[in-house]
Amino acid sequence: MAEKILEVKDLVVEFKTDRGKITAVNGVSFEVFKGKTLGIVGESGSGKSVTALSIMRLIPSPPGNVAGGTIHYRGKNVLDIPLDQMRTIRGNKIAMIFQEPMTSLNPVFTVGNQIEEVFELHQPDLNNQQRSEKAIEMLKLVGIPSPESRVNEYPHQLSGGMRQRVMIAMSLACEPDILIADEPTTALDVTIQAQILELMNKLQVEMGMGIIMITHDLGVVAETCDDVAVMYCGQIVEQSDVKTLFNNPKHPYTKGLIDSIPSFDSTAGGARGRLPTIEGMVPSLFELPQGCNFQNRCKSVTEKCRGPHGEPKLVETKAGEFVRCFHPLT
């Protein structure tokens, strides 16, 4: 049985805006295990990035703030600990990589310098020589050729894929327990995407960390995740292991997402038919409907969904399988 290292419970994150307060994350719970990858899937605005940032306490505040819930890392609620303690965890025990490798690296420092910085912060006993050697080692680990010379190069001298590898190197330098990857491949070419995902899988096997993979791309989910949580309007609407999710989705939204993946042998809509889509748009967080958030786009909507029973609750239908729907698909 894999070791549980992170437990998020009933997380609520709010943002104050000119037009009022919105709840970007509304009661989200999940667990992360060593050596396993949890995928968090959703469209833009579903709250998945905000969830990830909360784990690291990187939500800019103001205007955001964590209004409720707990995040237990190895038994301690990181939302409660003082900020300087949190800093010893960041980049050290829990690390994060971001979507835009172009801009996520500091342009005026060498790649090596930026990796070494992590050691300076969290492994101060190392001397210059050791730090430098470890930086080169990390570059080798993530598959960058001629690391000894690359280490002195600047971010702009590397391609997008290389930069993301550097980000991965930076984040894994201190062998964290958890790696949070926020859309790590979205900004990259498809072929590079595959390489990066393969790299991450390989490193997970070698280093044993848990990964939270945030993405909107179900293809990425299929490649990398063991368990999946689907988010919509700040809530988890379905959660299960990856096989069940793809073979037997229970929430109409999940089914819609899966159906809209184009494939060469898709017969949806006929051989020359239109690509299936989910009709409508994600509602604005300022104007959420009464009842189920998905009602205006759902193919199986009924009167029950429109308000008289409030919002559907997240229900565990089978061990480890959750769905938030009045009429889950079977």
Partner: protein, 287 residues
């Protein structure tokens, strides 16, 4: 069935953001009042008696003479109000002149590039190499004294900053996808410049305008000190210039009136300019 979200344009957002900032609204009102005052004064409805001797020379401020009197016994209050005509018109005309020249040259230079760009860049680099005050004084010297000379001198020396900014923006934008898209549907140069790129740089123009306005007001003061300012009609610059002699005798109120009157409107413009920048520059949202 499905709720379509109203897509609010940048301008709508900007207006909302601006009007919700109380400070900005106050400043806007101040600026507007100055304009109104200047117009009323020009039409003769207020401060018409600015040239009349209404009391003893150098009478200090009192309940009778609110801002005191100057050396000729004229009301400092009336002179201050009259002076707003020069100030507001100078600011307005200068802003407009520098806007026209700056935007035109910047757009042409940034958009067409090549030789045209080289020439224009050479032109404004040359302009910039000459110290501002020198150029200003030289031009007014040549054009003679008077308000038109000031308009021209200030206008001709203040367009370089805007030109540079606009040029930079056009360079950035002209290769952007949305402009290429315009090409793809058959849009020509003219259309691309005016319909597509220009609206995206309008916020820079507006912000720059508010900046130029107050620089112009302050420069007019300096020109007046140098004796190159407006003749005949009192301006804040001439009032401050007169103050040179008065201060030694302890007569501070003319200097104070002109300084404060100018400070209030310039401060209002500065704050307004900041608020405009926050409201209009989409990149700055959230700061």
């Amino acid at each position: 069935m499905s709720d379509t979200q109203k897509s609010k344009s940048l301008w709508y957002h900007a207006w909302e953001s601006l009007t919700s900032d109380k400070m900005a609204v106050v400043c806007l009102l101040i600026v507007v009042s100055y304009f109104v005052l200047a117009i009323l004064s020009a039409l003769g409805f207020v401060a018409a008696d600015y040239a009349k001797e209404i009391g003893p020379s150098y009478a200090p401020p009192s309940s009778e003479y609110l801002f005191g009197l100057d050396i000729f016994g004229r009301s400092v209050l009336a002179k201050t109000i009259k002076g707003s005509e020069v100030a507001m018109s100078v600011g307005l005309v200068t802003g407009v002149i520098s806007m026209i020249i700056g935007v035109f040259l910047g757009a042409v230079s940034g958009y067409f590039g090549g030789k045209v760009d080289e020439v224009i860049v050479w032109f404004y680099t040359t302009f910039n190499s000459i110290p501002y005050i020198m150029l200003l004084v030289a031009i007014t010297f040549i054009l003679g004294k008077g308000i038109i000379a000031i308009y021209l001198a200030l206008g001709l020396t203040s367009w370089v900053g805007l030109c540079r900014l606009i040029r930079g923006e056009f360079i950035r934008h002209k290769d952007r996808e949305y402009v290429q898209a315009a090409s793809a549907i058959g849009g020509g140069d003219f259309r691309k410049i005016f319909k597509h790129i220009l609206p995206n740089v309008l916020h820079i123009v507006i912000i720059n305008f508010s900046l130029q306005f107050q620089v112009a007001i302050k420069s007019e003061v300096i020109l007046s000190y140098l004796g190159l300012g407006v003749q005949g009609v009192p301006s804040w610059g001439t009032m401050i210039n007169d103050a040179k002699l008065e201060l030694a005798r302890g007569n501070w109120w003319q200097l104070a009136a002109a300084t404060v009157a100018m400070m209030i409107v310039v401060l209002a413009f500065n704050i307004l300019g900041d608020a405009l920048r926050d409201a209009l520059d989409p990149k700055l949202k959230g700061k």
